[in-house]
């Protein structure tokens, strides 16, 4: 395998998601309801609050007896450092978009968000330590695929730049990060099996992200039927959106 083949697989997986995902469908159908964005931001807040932590945990698996693993360990810690606190951008955007919920009252993550987070901790601590690069590989370039959908959502829901700082931040730092990840994949993947380990985690984290987005869409249907925990939050902290 190679970086090019990883990219081909990634593009194929994104094409499936863009075609089938329920949240993306909701946006492409032109929803103007900013509560959809709010639900998405809350789950983004939750998974993002674990990214630096599970990234740093990879370091614990590395044997620093050779320069390859030391380089990878430094990459993991540097990357964890850069991601630290980014979840607060998602929370900032939630408040900017009109949902002024205090962190202490934020509803717990949806089951598919927790599943995604669980998988990231697991692959960071078990098996080939290069595997977590499979997540970074697509995450760093996701805005090439997901960006257009986000811009459509922004237009229809009238989202200002101040409500999209998490999105903006992660599309800007993109290029350097994507290069770093590719360099690391090439450093750590010496066998076909290494590449397959990374490819599997790439595909599965994309899949689990898509399921998280589906869960957001299902939760929105519950909100419409007044059956979600979020109804109380919107009523209390975002009366103008309800």
């Amino acid at each position: 395998m190679s970086i090019e083949k990883l990219k081909t697989q990634m593009e194929k997986k994104w094409a499936e998601i863009l075609k089938d995902n329920q949240l993306i469908k909701l946006i492409l159908d032109g929803t103007k309801d900013r509560r959809v964005y709010a639900l998405y931001l809350a789950e983004t807040y939750h998974y993002a609050s674990h990214n630096a932590k599970n990234q740093a945990l990879v370091a614990n698996k590395l044997k620093t007896t050779n320069s390859k693993e030391i380089n990878y360990m430094k990459y993991c810690l540097e990357h964890a450092l850069e991601e630290t606190g980014h979840e607060l951008m998602a929370y900032h955007d939630l408040k900017a978009a009109g949902v002024n919920v205090p962190l202490s009252e934020m509803p717990a993550p949806l089951p598919d968000t927790e599943t995604f987070v669980a998988y990231l901790y697991y692959i960071s601590q078990n098996g080939n330590p290069a595997r977590r690069l499979g997540y970074s590989f697509w995450a760093e370039s996701s805005y090439a695929y997901f960006g257009e959908v986000m811009l459509l959502a922004a237009k229809n829901m009238e989202l200002s730049k101040a409500m999209m700082t998490f999105f903006a931040e992660h599309s800007d730092i993109d290029v350097k990060h994507a290069e770093d990840v590719e360099r690391m994949v090439n450093l750590m993947c010496k066998t076909e099996e290494d590449f397959e380990d990374v490819a599997e985690v790439m595909n599965q984290t994309l899949e689990l992200t898509a399921r998280m987005l589906d869960n957001v869409a299902r939760e929105y249907q519950k909100v419409l039927k007044n059956e979600s925990k979020w109804n109380a939050i919107f009523n209390k902290y975002a009366p103008s959106l309800s």
Copy 2:
């Protein structure tokens, strides 16, 4: 909430799975190919090899300052003890069914099996420690729902009792275990939120199990197209099944 409402939710979830699941569909459609069973057993072997371990980990979260948590801790360790080594029954059945693969050459778990395992470790170590009861709650009575499908598979694939020891073992010990779990749910769930925590894990572990079964069905499609890692295994260790 109550035990009764948990059961109602469980029945609803099982009804969805029995209707939609790709592996169940394959069996209901009358497949005679024992390789379907072999793929299912391999994933059963993988997730079952973690059950005693993640069950025992719950003990680590408990504060033994009151008799309630001490009782729950004893339950977790007793239950872990009873589950220890059960994965070898699944492996035994795999060999009895004609796939004589050594453990050292067993293919790694499918991505949705690893996701299921990851979720079990995560909920065993994070959040309300009562949550793992949500998994045991349905697992101990799953044969009431899944049993008929298994018997149809057995008939069509000509599976003898000696090829189904894992299934038999877990349908026998059923009753006592199911009572133990209900007692523990009632002991540990004092608030509506406790019940909801258990219910969420019950539904999500059923969902993740269903996705694991779907993944088995997809892997079987790959086997038919000669695109699976399992083709080499079947060729080498089960030539009569291919």
Copy 3:
């Protein structure tokens, strides 16, 4: 090496401890101050509250691909089950001896108790999983060595049986447990290196226990100078002992 040589090393280590330990010296010198026993019981409470947990963690390290490791895994979980909640006996004895402190106000463990606990968690999770047997090996027979000192303390401090349930419990169950440990050491130690791993942990956990007892003696000196956190506890909950 062999069980016999392990016992010889254990006896040598106990002889050193009985000769040099500051807490044992205090008792042999005839102290009548029951606060010495109270301080010892508090640290016993603390380390004992971790014993079942770190014992159960060993299970997580085992590969259940052979009957040897499955047997050991069952032993670990059974032994953890038996130890569950035993710390409450130490707490019971503390109250029976006249220190009626609620658990919520119990002072934190002393540094050498925390070090002992830390080491047990570490060796339960890292390196040869047989190593934790080195702790059980001497712990199950410790009353042969430490018992006489305890009886002298009981006589001088006028401790009734009701104040010594932790001691009594652990001297009674002794024999069966000691046999179980020896059987497991013989099962798990196949090479000289395995025996040395177990011997090292046996010697080091004895050493760390002795340092914990030394720390109790030093804390008692602080109590005498009114410089310990325990002075406030004794004043409030055991005025008759001060």
Copy 4:
């Protein structure tokens, strides 16, 4: 408490160690045997190989809901990053000093080194997350206390600069690091109890380091009696030192 009082406690503890420690005594007595330095470097290699890892683990305990904990999380990851791979300097020095042992044949850490490492992992994962600062607090300025002893060892054992890169590196970066630690202690310690938590870990990690050095001295006595694992290593890889 305050930074000043922490320093006073640290100076008192160092004074005790400089007076009583067996390894320091050996050096002050003028030993010319470079094997003493080799044994010290090997244990330094072992504990240093865990420093970045246990430092990074602190991040996992932090709740990133306020800027204080985010700052501390960044500090932990930055500090872990800076420490990554430093153990290889100790290994380099070991080879430069004439012990050309491959990493794969390096003897396991001594029991008191493993105890020190165990304690660092434990306090990094349990209790007040500020506690690990107690280790950094003295470690960053240890050369003010230990430096003179090292220079005497260097003189008597004829150690060149190329054999002391670990020592040199850690005395140079001192000043900036010491300032960072003090800033973090002041940020994270808001109550007297916070300061006491940090002070306890400062004192106990100094104590455990001293015990590790004592263990080095005892191991050297074994080398002299030809009873150490290191005798084979010195014979094979450093015949000129024996």
